[in-house]
Structures are given as C-alpha cells and as structure tokens.
C-alpha cells in the first residue's frame, strides 16, 4: 500500500510552515508524526497533493509550567507526555491516557498536536483535553488565537482550525485535582477504544470526556451537570448517553456502545472518588 504521489516540503520553522500553507492552500496537509495521516494516505482515503512536514519543529516540543497552566508544544510526542514528571504531578490524567495510546512504536512518533487536530472521535487525547478544559492555541498568518477545547470539535475529523493555521500549543489548566480516571475499553491491547471515558474532579467540579460516542470527541454534559448538582455516581452515569450519537461498526453496535458508556462512566466517576 503506497500513498498517491505528492510533493514533500519540510518546514524548518513555524513561519516556514505557515507560508507553505498559505502558498499551497487546500492542496496541502501538515504532517506531524504521520501516525494518523499516513495510514489514511496508504489506504488512499486521503490524497493531499502537498505534505508540509512539521515533524522536525523541535521548538514546538516542550512541556512547561507556565504559572496558571501547563504549556505543551504541539509536536510533543505521546512518549514525552507519558514520561513527564511535570505532567505526572500536574495532569496525571493526561500522562496516563497518553501511555495508553496505541503501542510503544506509535507513542514514539505520534504527537499531541496531531492527535487533537486530527479530530478523530476514537482518539483518546481529545476526550482528555475536553474533560480538563484545555485551551488550544492556533497560529496563522495573522497571529495567534486561543480556542477552548469545548469549541474545537466541529464535525467528523473536522476542527475549528483554519486551513492556514497550525496548532502550536495546548494549555492544560493547573487543577487542584481531587480525583481522575481513564477508562478505555478495547479488545486488543494496541487498539483504539471501543468506548473510552476520561474524568477529572477538581476545583469543586467534574469534567467527563467521551471517546467514540459520536462523530466528534464529546463532553458528557448531562453527567457533568448531574454530578455538579450533587448526584451520585450511579444516577449521573445513567445519563451517559444524553447528547451522544454512537455509531455501529465492526467492533460494536450503537446499543452496546451506549451500554458501555453507562458502565464506564460509572466506573470512572467512582474511581475518581465520587460515591
């Protein structure tokens, strides 16, 4: 399986990447770790005519304490997240979930920016970003803007990023975490979740993100509202499917996904300390 032919441009700076995007417009796709895009290109489900490789932008590979939040460069790899001592103490949910993405080979190459920008509802890190109330920083020809994770996902594999923008940074608020949990249900270790749930209880409120329960990564808003107004884990988890539109596929029917969501949300709330 070989991708359709394309032109390859390696960007050696953010500016170079942005000018390439402006120059080639809709024809171009950014290439970070390539672990979502290349499999699609090999299946010819994607056939961009220009690839702008940002994989060498080491300036965008960092995890820093920025005071109120943790700043993570878009090119930071899953393995960096998994082994970061800063994240282990300040955002353990993210470090843990990153350690469950794919397999070690995937984690050595795949990036957080690619994971969030790809906007795959089956991906783990978007649900974590939603649960934690992350902010996504996009840089374009006219400068930088911030997008709340809750506003970022607009459709299947579609995000609020404009075609000429680069996702440059992810900001994770520093939360006073009381409890967290990441539940990933799959049949083989390396697989994507059939359903996944990311929960964080912090600063007096609870965030719950859902993996693979619709065409975009989702917040379990009904569950969050219930917990935040005092419901127990069992009652809140019963609302796990509100606002979801789980699909049926080779791995699971939509009914089974809905059942899993209720079970996993309950486990997730309980594991994060809600009775």
């Amino acid at each position: 399986m070989i991708p359709a032919a394309f032109e390859y441009v390696r960007a050696d700076s953010v500016d170079a990447a942005l000018s390439a995007l402006t120059k080639y417009g809709d024809e171009a796709k950014l290439l970070a770790g390539g672990h979502s895009l290349l499999p699609l290109m090999k299946l010819r489900l994607a056939a961009p005519s220009v690839l702008v490789d940002v994989g060498r932008l080491d300036d965008l590979r960092y995890i820093n304490d920025a005071g109120d939040y943790i700043a993570i460069g878009a090119l930071t790899r899953h393995r960096d997240l998994e082994t970061s001592s800063l994240l282990a103490s300040a955002a353990p949910l993210l470090a843990h979930a990153a350690g469950h993405v794919g397999d070690p080979q995937v984690r050595h190459r795949g990036t957080i920016g690619g994971s969030l920008a790809h906007a795959d509802p089956a991906s783990d890190l978007p649900a974590v970003a939603l649960a934690m109330g992350a902010t996504i920083v996009a840089t374009g020809p006219n400068g930088t803007r911030e997008i709340a994770a809750s506003e970022f996902y607009t459709g299947f594999l579609e995000s609020a990023l404009a075609p000429d923008e680069l996702l440059t940074e992810i900001r994770i608020p520093k939360l006073d975490t009381q409890g967290w949990s990441f539940q990933k249900f799959n049949r083989r270790a390396q697989d994507w979740a059939i359903v996944g749930v990311a929960t964080v209880r912090a600063n007096g409120s609870t965030g719950v993100g859902l993996v693979n329960m619709g065409s975009t990564p989702l917040l379990a808003s009904a569950v969050m509202n219930a917990v935040n107004s005092g419901a127990n884990a069992a009652d809140a988890a019963a609302l796990a499917n509100e606002g979801t539109e789980a699909q049926s596929d080779i791995n699971a029917s939509s009914e089974y996904r809905e059942h899993l969501a209720r079970v996993l949300v309950r486990r997730s709330l309980e594991e994060s300390g809600l009775s």
Binding site: I2, A5, E7, Y8, K42, P104, Q105, V106, H108, R109
Partner: protein
C-alpha cells in the same frame, strides 16, 4: 528527492519519491531485507526498526521523514558472528517459530529494555503490544526478553 540516512552506523543515500515508505527504501533500495512487512497497516510491528534509538514502525514513516536520522535495523545488531544478547536470548529460549515476526520483536524488545531495564512479565507483554506473532509463540518470546533482562541486570551488578 535525495535523502541520506545513517543505517547501522553507515551513511547511505538514495533518490526516492516523496511517497516512498521507509520500509521500502530499506528493503528495495538498501537491500536490507531483514526488516519484514507483515500487515502494511501499522498493526503488526514486523517492520519495527529503531529511529534515533527508539522503536518505530517503518511502514508508517516516509523515507523522507528519516532523512538525516540514525536508523538501526536487525542487520545492525550482531557484531560479526557474535549475536546481540537479545538475539542470543531468542535463540536460547526458542523465542521464534516461523521467524517472520522475529526481527520486529527483537527490535521492539531492545527498545523496551532501554526504557525499562527491569520489567515484570506483564510489563513485557504490554510493552510488546505493538507486535503480533502469527504463530502465537508469545510464551517463549516473553521468556526470551525476560532472560535477556535478567542477564544484563546480573552483568551490571
């Protein structure tokens, strides 16, 4: 486009199409056919090599992405007739049946021990989750990796 990589310590150049996958460059251009292609869909790990010292699936990288980087393939492990300890442990523990997954398993296992020199059996099983053995010979593969870890820990004590 022209690319240059350092494979097994030797600088090698080639002229590739941008869409050339790294595994095809290694096998077809550099004649390093020890790296196998199992699934071609990023699932099986047969094509695992080291990129800058870390395991990676060479069917899921462009040759262009490897330009200027250091690569190690299964051919780069042995020192003449002396096998790398991981290769020897696979041999001694019968860690292979048909052998098709073996180059990828060995490369993944070395990367695993680099990151976790003292793994439990569960750590080894989880650490090799990206590698499938069609012969399902996992028992002896895990045994081989644990033997290699024990041996190098013994040696360093």
């Amino acid at each position: 486009m022209k690319i240059t990589v350092t494979v097994n310590g030797v600088e090698r150049s080639g002229d590739v199409e941008p869409r050339t996958l790294l595994v095809h460059f290694l096998r077809d251009e550099l004649n390093l056919t020890g790296t196998n292609i199992g699934c071609d869909t990023s699932s099986c790990g047969a094509c695992t090599i080291h990129v800058e010292g870390q395991s990676a699936k060479s069917c899921t990288m462009l040759a262009a992405q490897a330009d200027g980087l250091e690569l190690t393939t299964i051919e780069g492990l042995a020192n003449g007739d002396i096998l790398h300890p991981m290769q020897r442990c696979f041999q001694e523990n019968h860690g292979l049946q048909c052998g098709y997954c073996t180059p990828g398993m060995v490369m993944a296992a070395i990367s695993l021990l680099d990151e976790n020199p003292n793994p439990s059996e569960t750590d080894v099983r989880i650490g090799l989750e990206g590698n499938l053995c069609r012969c399902t010979g996992y028992h002896n593969i895990v045994k081989s990796v644990l033997a290699c870890a024990a041996e190098s820990n013994g040696a360093s004590k």
